[in-house]
């Protein structure tokens, strides 16, 4: 199972699950990164972190270690 942080820039994936039970995971879910949603990695900051994502019609930025919690379906 791949994680969101492994997706290359420009590719789109479908969220399989968000792991973790803390505030960060809840926040990811509340911002729309729920199972089944399509998410595209639009780009990264100059140093490779954080990631810029597009989902549900808007742009979201999250750090790589946060993206690691999001599993992407094949």
């Amino acid at each position: 199972m791949r994680s969101l942080q492994e997706l290359t820039v420009g590719s789109t994936g479908q969220v399989a699950d968000v792991s973790g039970e803390d505030t960060t995971s809840l926040r990811l879910l509340e911002m729309g990164l729920t199972p089944g949603v399509a998410v595209t990695v639009v780009g990264t900051a100059p140093l490779g972190d954080p990631l810029e994502l597009e989902l549900r019609g808007y742009r979201l930025s999250i750090r790589r270690n946060e993206a690691a919690r999001v599993a992407i379906a094949h």
Binding site: L26, M31, Y58, I62
Partner: protein
């Protein structure tokens, strides 16, 4: 949330008993909520912090069809599940649990039409709060340009509450919204839509409740959005889209970023300068006027040397604050502020901070006060506090005269490597670098020790480009300016008076054989005052730094405001009131300093290591009462100014000590 609705009976009666209607304005950040607030209520009547927390409270009043309405602009939030102080405040106000605020009579939820799915998350929670709800659908014009169409009538049906299209900058829909509010006391709170209730009931019991609920809400949102939103697949790229592409481009985006930051930085230095000179001239005029009009004596000295000098010295920073907040408000309004945090995050995380600290720290190079105030944009409490604690280490513009004088007078003008690179310039750059490096180390250490904690989510929306609203931008500048001036008029005035007293009393007694010229008199007055005595007292402490008691005295005198040190040195060396800014004054001071010897010896005080140790001390020391006062205000506690003062003074002493000892040992 439903249990609160059942127990609350005051929603309807509150309006009629107090005469005015209380409306809460709720919504995600970046939805045009501030513009809507402005369009409805104009300038806020109450700005401050909610009791006990450093979350901004903003309340406005207006009248519509004879009905008085109080509008509470709640902090922007993505969810009513409280995970931060901001969210907790929103929940408390909506449940009527916030001290000093009665429970609102109804709620206006602002939803961004370009971004409806995520906005509906908060709307779905608001529908269960137990208060009448109106949804104001904003940014419809931007949605049009993106080819997004929202059927607001269908949406209203799906939600079970009124939905009004609003384009606040053009005042479209404002009247209808106000009409609806006036009639709000006649409504019942909505029943959450059946489909939402069944989605929530079907939430996965295997997951933690909050997570399962979030997923269930989005399941409902997907259904609603399918029925209500249509996207044109072949719409023409709008100007906004083109600007967006530019700003997010790997190369051009970075170029835009660097240019913007340079522009902000230089404006705070150079654009502000003529305005600051104007204010400075005004303060001087006021001082001369008072000097001429008032009778000699203690009161005049208090007014001229204490209040006018002290408060005037702080008020002169108003242009820098106004300019900085103008830029921050514009960046915020056009959606670019988040992008700067995004670009700088990786670098700042490395030292224990985060991307949002970038602009506050950058601004602190001009003056820490606006920088610390700008830290309000950091929602994360820990990051915000850390940023505020290290901001004063960014060498501010008040340190520059000290660096320039000492570099010019005591650093040999030799070339370093290439002929155009001179040692004084290198030393100057080194002083700035020292501040940054020490700040990085302090932030790093604090974030791993005292402020160690679970990682805070960075999860941050990157809003698309939109045109900043002048009304909102000017309002932000006005707020910042007023808040700063209030500080100056109260706390800083108090501090100035105390410092004046310490520098004036006890009055000097001159030995009979000393000529009574003004300069000598002033020198004696300072030496024999409490401040001067403090200088002599700490001489053993400053000796290891290579300083004599006069330097110690000047350092102590400059604790409230470092920029007075040069003038103070002039007084101590019996030059009278030397203005080191003027060509003649500076050379006179430099000559005096170069000639200064230790009491009773021929040994020069100002060697190169001494000059360097003074500069390092000034680079790292918190010699600014105004900054400390602002830190206290922004953190809501006097603990942090004390902590800042203590750690910085400690580091300053240590830095100066190491510099002097190393420099002397190396024979500089």
């Amino acid at each position: 949330m439903s249990s609160v609705a059942a127990s609350d009976t005051s929603a309807g009666s509150a309006a009629s008993s107090s005469g005015h209607l209380s409306v809460a304005l709720l919504g995600n950040p970046n939805t045009g909520k501030s513009t809507l607030f402005s369009a409805l209520a104009g300038i806020p009547t109450r700005i401050g912090n909610y009791p006990g927390v450093t979350v901004e409270e903003k309340i406005g009043r207006f009248t519509h069809r004879g009905q008085g309405i109080e509008l509470i602009d709640l902090p922007g939030t993505y969810s009513l599940v409280a995970k931060s102080p901001d969210e907790q405040v929103v929940v408390d106000v909506l449940q009527g649990k916030m001290k000093g605020i009665t429970r609102p009579d109804c709620v206006v939820v602002v939803a961004d039409a370009t971004n409806l799915p995520r906005n509906l998350y908060l709307v779905s929670q608001a529908l269960a709060v137990g208060l009448p709800v109106v949804v104001a659908l904003t940014l419809g014009d931007v949605a049009d340009s993106k080819g997004i169409a929202v059927d607001h009538a269908a949406l209203s049906q799906e939600l079970g509450c009124p939905v009004i299209n609003v384009v606040a900058p053009r005042r479209l829909g404002i009247g209808r919204l106000a009409d609806m509010l006036v009639e709000a006391s006649d409504w019942q709170p909505p029943t959450p839509p059946m489909r939402l209730t069944s989605c929530l009931a079907a939430a996965d019991p295997a997951r933690p409740a909050a997570a399962a609920e979030a997923i269930a809400r989005y399941a409902w949102i997907d259904e609603v959005v399918n029925r209500v939103v249509t996207r044109q697949t072949d719409h023409r790229r709008s100007t906004s889209d083109r600007i967006d592409s530019l700003l997010t481009h790997r190369l051009w985006g970075t170029l835009v970023f660097v240019t913007t930051m340079l522009a902000i930085f230089s404006s705070i230095f150079w654009l502000a300068a003529p305005l600051m000179d104007l204010i400075s001239a005004g303060v001087d005029a006021l001082a001369s006027g008072a000097d001429a009009l008032m009778a000699e004596g203690t009161l005049k000295s208090l007014v001229v040397d204490g209040v006018i000098a002290g408060v005037g010295g702080v008020v002169v920073f108003l242009p820098q604050i106004a300019i900085l907040f103008l830029f921050v408000a514009i960046l915020e309004g056009c959606g670019y502020l988040s992008r700067t945090a995004f670009l700088m995050d990786r670098l700042l995380v490395g030292v224990g901070l985060s991307g949002k600290s970038f602009i506050p720290l950058l601004s602190s190079f001009a003056c820490a006060i606006p920088g610390i105030m700008a830290a309000r944009t950091i929602e994360n409490r820990r990051d915000r506090l850390l940023t505020i604690l290290v901001a004063p280490l960014m060498s501010c513009s008040a340190r520059l005269p000290v660096y320039l004088l000492l570099c010019g007078a005591f650093v040999p003008n030799i070339a370093v490597g290439v002929s155009w690179l001179r040692l004084p310039a290198v030393v100057l750059a080194a002083m700035y670098a020292i501040g940054v490096v020490v700040a990085a180390v302090v932030a790093f250490v604090l974030s791993r020790t005292v402020f160690r904690g679970p990682p805070q989510p960075f999860v941050m929306e990157l809003p698309g480009w939109r045109w900043p609203q002048p009304a909102v931008v000017l309002e932000r500048v006005r707020e910042a300016a007023v808040s700063f001036l209030k500080n100056a008029g109260t706390l800083i005035m108090a501090v100035s008076i105390v410092v004046w007293a310490l520098g004036t009393y006890p009055k000097p007694t001159l030995p009979a054989d000393v000529p009574a010229d003004a300069a000598v008199l002033e020198g004696e007055a300072l030496r024999q005052s409490f401040l001067g005595r403090a200088g002599r007292l700490i001489e053993p402490v400053v000796k290891p730094l290579g300083w004599d008691w006069r330097l110690g005295c000047a350092a102590v005198a400059s604790f409230p405001a470092r920029e007075v040190v040069l003038g103070t040195l002039g007084v101590i060396y019996n030059l009278g009131d030397v203005d080191p800014g003027e060509e003649e004054g500076a050379s006179l001071l430099i000559r005096q300093l170069r000639a200064a010897t230790w009491d009773g010896t021929d040994r020069k005080v100002f060697t190169l290591p001494v000059a360097l140790s003074i500069m390092v001390f000034f680079a790292l020391c918190a010699q600014c009462a105004s900054t400390l006062v602002v830190i206290g205000k922004e953190t809501g506690s006097w603990v942090w100014p004390v902590v800042t003062f203590s750690y910085m003074t400690g580091l300053a002493w240590l830095g100066a000590f190491l510099t002097y000892q190393a420099g002397t040992a190396l024979g500089w």
